[in-house]
């Protein structure tokens, strides 16, 4: 029933010249998304991927288990001196991420261009 989560990584450079690993997700983010979410993140080289940008623009459904995976990623990132950012969330999921406190540790942007300009 759940739409399989697809993920791929694009390596970009911000206008300020910083390398940014963009994790692009597609499908649902739920309990079945562990490999796609955490596995893709964990495959990034920690030493060179200091800025990690999550692209949710092709994600329609995120449940509390999916949010927990994002928090697990944030914990691992915090322990590796990486910073997590995100863009492409709908207004509803922007509200939900804010309600659970994610915005305290991860910057949310409305678009990739806005996010890159800030990094």
């Amino acid at each position: 029933m759940q739409s399989e989560t697809k993920a791929h990584v694009d390596q970009l450079t911000s206008p300020a010249g910083n390398p940014v690993a963009v994790l692009r997700f597609e499908g649902d983010i739920a309990s079945t998304s562990k490999d796609a979410v955490l596995g893709t993140y964990q495959a990034l080289p920690k030493a060179t991927s200091k800025l990690v940008l999550l692209d949710f623009s092709k994600v329609d459904y995120i449940n509390s288990s999916g949010i927990a995976l994002v928090i697990q990623m944030m914990i691992e990132a915090s322990n590796s001196a990486q910073k997590i950012y995100a863009f492409g969330l709908s207004p509803h999921f922007t509200k939900v991420f804010t309600m659970v406190g994610i915005t305290k540790y991860a910057g949310l942007f409305s678009s990739q261009a806005e996010a890159l300009a800030a990094l």
Partner: protein, 148 residues
């Protein structure tokens, strides 16, 4: 809205993760017919999905021989949703997640479903069934009169 006075819709879901989306879509369709704003429909979808996930995972413990009942009751000014399972019911009250404690490993990264349900609808109550069966969560979301 007048066509939906006292309208009732019932769905039975298998206790398998992912089927919460069936209840979510059904609730969204009913709410749309009743005239709810799109933002409130999104709130309802998340609350219903989380209630069904709790029923599937914690109430029925993923036992596919048991089903989750979802009863949507439309009234003049509100939509009530009951999500019924065969568990013993929730004994604890929803707690606001503490992101600092989660980030420091002092709180499970999971466990946000009940908080989201309570935060996104106008009323939420968890009722333990008699003899440990037919426990339910009852959600109410009210129609915003101002935009009717």
């Amino acid at each position: 809205m007048s066509d939906f006075k006292s309208a009732k819709v019932e769905v039975r879901l298998p206790s398998r993760m992912g089927f919460e989306k069936v209840a979510m879509s059904t609730a969204a369709s009913v709410a749309k017919l009743m005239g709810f704003r799109p933002e409130r429909i999104e709130d309802l979808k998340t609350a219903v999905a989380e209630a069904c996930i709790n029923a599937i995972e914690h109430g029925n413990r993923l036992n596919e021989k048991l089903s989750v009942g979802v009863v949507l009751s439309a009234a003049d000014d509100a939509l009530e949703v009951k999500v019924i399972d065969d568990g013993t019911g929730m004994r604890k009250q929803p707690m606001k997640p503490d992101i600092d404690r989660k980030m420091h490993g002092e709180e499970d990264p999971r466990g946000m479903g009940m908080f989201l349900i309570q935060a996104l609808v106008d009323e939420a109550e968890w009722v333990a069934g008699s003899e440990g069966k037919s426990s339910y969560v009852r959600l109410v979301i009210r129609l915003d009169k101002a935009i009717e």
